[in-house]
């Protein structure tokens, strides 16, 4: 299937902008816990789906949302892994460990998609 690189570039710009704005809102929000909730705002999803609805209509939405529900479940697993890592690793090794927690997200998504498809 042909990819429109203009569309990919537009999604890059709109997705990046919305993520930056949501992060900025999270930065000024109190209490800190509520800022953490806002950190999980569907900014990438909103930007991408807005363009999908404009360009392609509602046709692709059901498949995308089945995948997103799986991704959201994996997101919760990822955040629980991060909570454990925040407590158990030193400050210096924290960022690499948090990046490694992405493996948990990928594993949950891979298994769930394999079961669903």
């Amino acid at each position: 299937m042909d990819i429109s690189w203009g569309e990919v570039a537009l999604r890059f710009a709109v997705g990046g902008a919305l993520v930056a704005v949501c992060s900025l809102v999270g930065e000024v929000m109190r209490p800190k816990g509520l800022a953490g909730v806002f950190g999980g705002a569907p900014s990438v999803a909103t930007a991408s789906l807005m363009l999908t609805l404009i360009v392609k209509g509602t046709g692709p939405i059901p498949d995308l949302m089945v995948g997103m529900m799986i991704g959201a479940a994996a997101f919760v697993v990822y955040t629980l892994a991060v909570m454990v890592l925040m407590r158990s690793v030193t400050r210096l090794s924290r960022f690499p460990s948090i990046l490694l927690a992405w493996a948990a997200w990928v594993a949950v998504v891979a298994v769930a998609l394999w079961r669903v498809t």
């Binding site: 997705g15 939405i61 059901p62 997103m68 955040t79 925040m86 992405w102």
Partner: protein, 133 residues
């Protein structure tokens, strides 16, 4: 009672937001390419990829200390509950509501994320309200 601290904007290091722009843009673009090559379900899963949280937590850890970062991390799972609410609402509402399903899904995200966060804190007797100022 204040929910926002606009004074914090003065302390913002703008390169941090450039990194978040690049990360958000990269995930959006990757999801679009995945949609074409691997199918809609893979692209949909990528829309819930935790791209921003690692950078966000590391920056809070550096600037405000480990306890503030841990506090933010404890709230992050409720963001995931919100993402699931967003996806379920859009899945149900897309066909009947068309483009209006997107604002409805955002409302579902806010209700699911803030609602589950508030409920958890209420059950475990922690105040979710900011300090009186």
């Amino acid at each position: 009672m204040r929910w926002l601290e606009p004074a914090k904007l003065a302390k913002v290091r703008w390169w941090e937001y450039a990194i978040r722009f690049l990360m958000g843009g990269a995930i959006s673009a990757a999801a679009a390419v995945a949609g074409h090559t691997l199918g809609g379900k893979v692209a949909g899963a990528m829309l819930a990829f935790p791209a921003i949280l690692p950078a966000s937590l590391t920056l809070v850890d550096e600037k405000e200390g480990t306890s503030a970062a841990a506090e933010e991390a404890k709230a992050a799972p409720f963001g995931g509950v919100g993402l699931a609410g967003f996806a379920a609402a859009l899945w149900a509402a897309a066909r009947p509501m068309g483009p209006w399903s997107l604002p409805a899904a955002l409302a579902a995200w806010a209700a699911a994320a803030v609602g589950s966060f508030g409920l958890w804190n209420a059950v475990f007797s922690r105040s979710v309200l900011p300090d009186e100022r």
